[in-house]
């Protein structure tokens, strides 16, 4: 039975996290789309350790790191989340379960009223998932990335009151293996 584990970013996982983060596939969907050095990443880890509002995790499926999941503004009414898949293997349902775990972790905090995200308008996979599970898109926002590109980002917002129905829709397209992983995920906080 597959198991899902969230492990905080640390020096132990810095090598592969940085390798994933610096792939063009991941960078092109980020507002900070620069190539990050190990020195910068380690400085980021130091900042992260002092910031209770942000949490960054490596997601392990069984023993293998497969993705990242991260949150900002934890403890506030609006929590922002994001994720990216690192593995090159096709793990059916992984993206859906990252959303489910992300929402569950955010809404486990009683202060959280809404879960927010922004997706580059051309990043079709998350757009498709968000549409499919019934998340409403907000008005597109034009942003300038760190490298100077102008990119339209689509904001999404999930209110706590809408979580149960969105969760039910997401579970309809979650394969059995990922449902089991979702039912038993753990975070090492």
């Amino acid at each position: 039975m597959p198991s899902l584990r969230l492990v905080p970013f640390s020096e132990d996982n810095a090598d592969f996290v940085l390798a994933w983060r610096n792939t063009p596939r991941v960078r092109e969907n980020m507002i900070d789309d620069s190539v990050i050095s190990m020195e910068e990443h380690l400085r980021f880890l130091e900042t992260l350790a002092k910031d209770a509002c942000r949490q960054y995790f490596v997601v392990y499926l069984d023993q293998d790191p497969v993705a990242t999941l991260y949150f900002a503004d934890l403890g506030q009414q609006e929590v922002t989340w994001g994720c990216y898949i690192g593995t090159e293997q096709m793990v059916p349902g992984l993206f859906v379960v990252l959303f489910l775990v992300g929402a569950e972790l955010a809404f486990a905090r009683p202060q959280t009223k809404a879960l927010c995200s922004e997706v580059a308008a051309y990043n079709s996979a998350p757009q498709a998932l968000n549409r499919f599970i019934g998340l409403e898109a907000g008005e597109e926002r034009v942003r300038t990335t760190r490298s100077g590109r102008t990119v339209e980002f689509v904001p999404y917002r999930l209110e706590r009151s809408g979580w149960a129905s969105v969760q039910a829709r997401a579970l309809k397209v979650t394969p059995g293996s990922m449902k089991q992983a979702y039912n038993d995920w753990k975070a090492e906080i």
């Binding site: 597959p2 096709m90 793990v91 498709a128 059995g176 293996s177």
Partner: protein, 85 residues
Amino acid sequence: MQVRALILEMFSEALEATDATLACPELSDDMVLLESGLDSLGFAILVARLEEELGFDPFVEMIDAVYPTTFGEFVRIYENRQGPN
């Protein structure tokens, strides 16, 4: 219906459900799944639909799950679990 034929049928359904199109003239065994035109939602739909039709998700039962990279590997995972038709 043979597993391969069912997978091909469900693959087309998943493409349609996600408004996607096949990124190659036809699905061959060496087609890299991530380059097939089906996105992550599409694969979730594909495996969930196959589970409805076949009654199993082969990835549940794997002790050390081996996830496919190509279409041929994907089909073989189902064929191996299903056994000979």
